[in-house]
């Protein structure tokens, strides 16, 4: 069995095969976890009320559909030698963006640093780093870039802090 796919959404079959294998592992793990779950027999509950019933069925469904995806990708040539992988600039930028967001959400916020300071540092730093190419293209020097990033950071920090604390009346992290 295979399922139709729209051409514009197609990825190399090998990528689909890797994704399928991950789903098979996840589905299998869920089904196994559900099977081994406490069935609460000591409470004399109806066997159809067992807490593992639905997760088990869902895990099995994911396992089966992962298998179908794997079979389809193999039929489409997933086992043929792969082409040259491209190292993208987007991937590197994404890694840095991800690191910056994690730094803000997991380290800077909620661990003693004042919220306004953490937000200022994050926004100014983010714009300073990731907007640098565009700014340089506009002919702005490093000092001008840093000043602009700081202004954006200060404005965001001040507005978010004031609006959340005094308008929406919520506690900041």
């Amino acid at each position: 069995m295979s399922i139709e796919n729209t051409p514009q959404d197609e990825l190399p079959p090998r990528v689909d095969l890797y994704a399928a294998l991950i789903w098979i592992v996840i589905g299998g793990a869920i089904a196994a976890g559900a099977w081994n779950m406490d069935r609460l027999e000591h409470l004399h509950i109806n066997k159809y009320e067992a807490p593992g019933l639905v997760p088990g069925l869902l895990g099995a469904a994911m396992l089966v559909l992962g298998g179908v995806l794997a079979l389809r990708s193999v039929r489409r040539g997933a086992l043929r030698p792969p082409g040259q992988a491209k190292a993208g600039e987007g991937g590197r930028r994404l890694a840095w963006v991800f690191a910056a967001t994690l730094l803000y959400a997991l380290v800077l916020v909620g661990h003693g640093i004042p919220f306004w300071l953490a937000t200022f540092a994050f926004v100014a730093g983010f714009i300073g780093v990731f907007d640098a190419d565009r700014q340089a293209g506009l002919g702005r020097g490093l000092a001008a870039q840093a000043l602009r990033a700081s202004v954006y950071g200060a404005c965001t920090s001040a507005i978010v802090t004031l609006v959340f604390e005094h308008v929406f009346l919520v506690r900041l992290p």
Binding site: V54, A61, L69, G110, F164
Partner: protein
């Protein structure tokens, strides 16, 4: 009939305060801006605004969310027409003719048509919202565990099948969403499942942080991953809509409004399918189908009417069945639950006035987009020129603060980050996120309904397929799945050729 009108006027009158009007103006503007910015979707806007309005009275908060939702679906047309980039997926169909008109120097006319279509589409959907909700509410009273089980499965399967892309991947994402909803204490015996000893996980993942992550943080990552070129905007003429257009395209407007509303009612499908379906129907009915894609006013009117009519349509099943018709409606439903409003089959019995409150909110949102459609063009063009690198850190701050504001828990921020990464990875590997989200929303209903149904029938599966409504839902699910199988499609093609 008249009691409904009286209730509607009472609801509308309750919102005619200075405070409510300020909320309408502000949230419609936020919605239009979010919708206009490529990469930011209506779902993200509604999810973010849910976190911001958590301390507001329920009706005011829902007013803000509905204005944001309607505004965002409308706002997407701006970037579709001016940049050929759909501001939201719902506006993808508008790119075809909207941008073609812009290249002919008719961007202003195209924006006027988009405003006309969106306003009238919302009004048509609003009419059906007021008319259909009580009727569907009566039908919903006949639903039991078996029917709710199939309705939840139907939502996930149909969402995965119709929201574009690969249905197999959509089904996997949908089942993953249903599984995620089971994490934490089970709803019947409170046994901890898949929580690995974590006290935070024992409570399960909160819906709103998961949605903010899947549609907010994930979109930030996507926007930063795909570097967009600087925008170039065509010159434009007047944006004032013409009454002549309304009369000339009245059939398209009514047809698209009805199609959009009914697609909205189908669980989990949403505005983009509504726009494309309305567009296709207009093309079939047109005397000049060859003009579609080359600057057809008819095509643009159909797409814009259809997607905005879908918004009230998607709210109908939220109110009557507690099943969202689209991804933003799923967030709206979560917000209703957070604010203590309990949608579902009992709504016309327990709080019928609330249904008319929602209709009044929809009318105010329509006035909001009409106002901004006529006045905000130059401001929106300036907004479209703001680079992604400046907007994204600000949005991430809002995602973080907003999720924390819900319950002052750092765990909610971690949830947002986790679902952001999941959403990004799924999108990257072409797994649709909408079925995942719908699965998370419907998981609890699906599980409880299945277990209750099995207990009631003592394990007999027959009531799941023999009760009339269950049988219809089951048969529809089977047909939807079968129609996506290549063998069946080949058979249909052969049959079609011979016919």
């Amino acid at each position: 009939m008249f009691s409904g009108l009286v209730s509607f006027w009472q609801s509308l009158a309750s919102f005619l305060t200075f405070e409510s009007i300020v909320y309408v103006l502000a949230s419609s503007l936020v919605g239009v801006v979010i919708g206009a910015l490529p990469g930011l979707t209506a779902t993200m806007g509604v999810a973010l605004m849910t976190t911001l309005t958590i301390k507001m009275p329920s009706n005011q908060a829902l007013l803000v969310l509905i204005c944001t939702y309607v505004g965002a679906i409308y706002g997407g047309s701006r970037s579709a027409i001016l940049l050929n980039i759909p501001g939201t997926p719902a506006s993808a169909a508008s790119c075809l003719d909207g941008y073609a008109l812009a290249r002919q120097g008719l961007a202003g006319r195209a924006m006027g048509i988009a405003t006309t279509g969106s306003v009238l589409g919302t009004l048509i959907g609003m009419f059906f919202l007021a008319w259909f909700t009580p009727l569907l509410g009566e039908v919903a009273l006949k639903f039991g565990a078996y029917e709710f089980f199939w309705l939840a499965v139907f939502g996930v399967i149909v969402s995965a099948t119709l929201t574009g892309g690969d249905p197999l991947k959509g089904w996997i994402a949908g089942f993953a969403g249903l599984f995620i909803a089971t994490i934490g204490q089970d709803g019947i015996h409170a046994l901890e499942r898949f929580s690995f000893g974590s006290r935070d996980l024992a409570g399960g993942f909160s819906l709103v942080p998961a949605l903010v992550g899947a549609f907010g943080f994930a979109e930030i990552l996507v926007a930063m991953h795909e570097k967009r070129p600087p925008v170039t905007i065509n010159p434009f003429d007047t944006v004032i809509p013409k009454l002549k257009d309304v009369w000339q395209y009245r059939r398209t407007i009514v047809r698209s409004g009805v199609i959009g509303t009914f697609i909205g009612i189908v669980p989990g499908v949403g505005e983009d399918v509504a726009a494309w379906s309305s567009y296709a129907a207009a093309k079939r009915a047109s005397k000049n189908p060859e003009e579609f894609g080359k600057g057809s006013i008819d095509g643009l009117m159909a797409a814009e009417t259809g997607d905005n009519a879908c918004v009230p349509g998607a709210i109908i099943p939220v109110l009557t069945l507690q099943i969202p018709g689209s991804a933003p409606a799923a967030v709206l439903m979560a917000a209703m639950l957070i604010h203590g409003v309990k949608p579902g089959p009992m709504i016309m019995i327990e709080s019928p006035q609330f249904v008319y409150d929602v209709v009044a909110m929809m009318l105010l949102a329509t006035l909001g987009i009409l106002l901004y459609g006529l006045t905000l063009t130059r401001f929106l063009i300036q907004v479209l020129r703001v680079p992604t690198t400046i907007i994204t850190p600000m949005l991430f701050v809002l995602c973080t603060v907003g999720t924390f504001a819900l319950a002052s828990r750092l765990f909610d921020i971690w949830t947002m980050l986790l679902f952001g990464v999941i959403g990004f990875v799924l999108r990257h590997y072409r797994f649709p996120v909408a079925p995942l989200v719908l699965g998370i929303v419907l998981g609890d209903l699906m599980e409880k309904s299945l277990r209750r149904g099995l207990v009631l029938s003592d394990g007999d599966l027959m009531p799941f397929v023999t009760r009339p409504i269950s049988a219809v839902l089951f048969a529809t699910i089977v047909v939807v799945i079968l129609l996506r199988l290549p063998a069946v499609q080949r058979l249909l093609r052969i049959g079609g050729t011979r016919g």
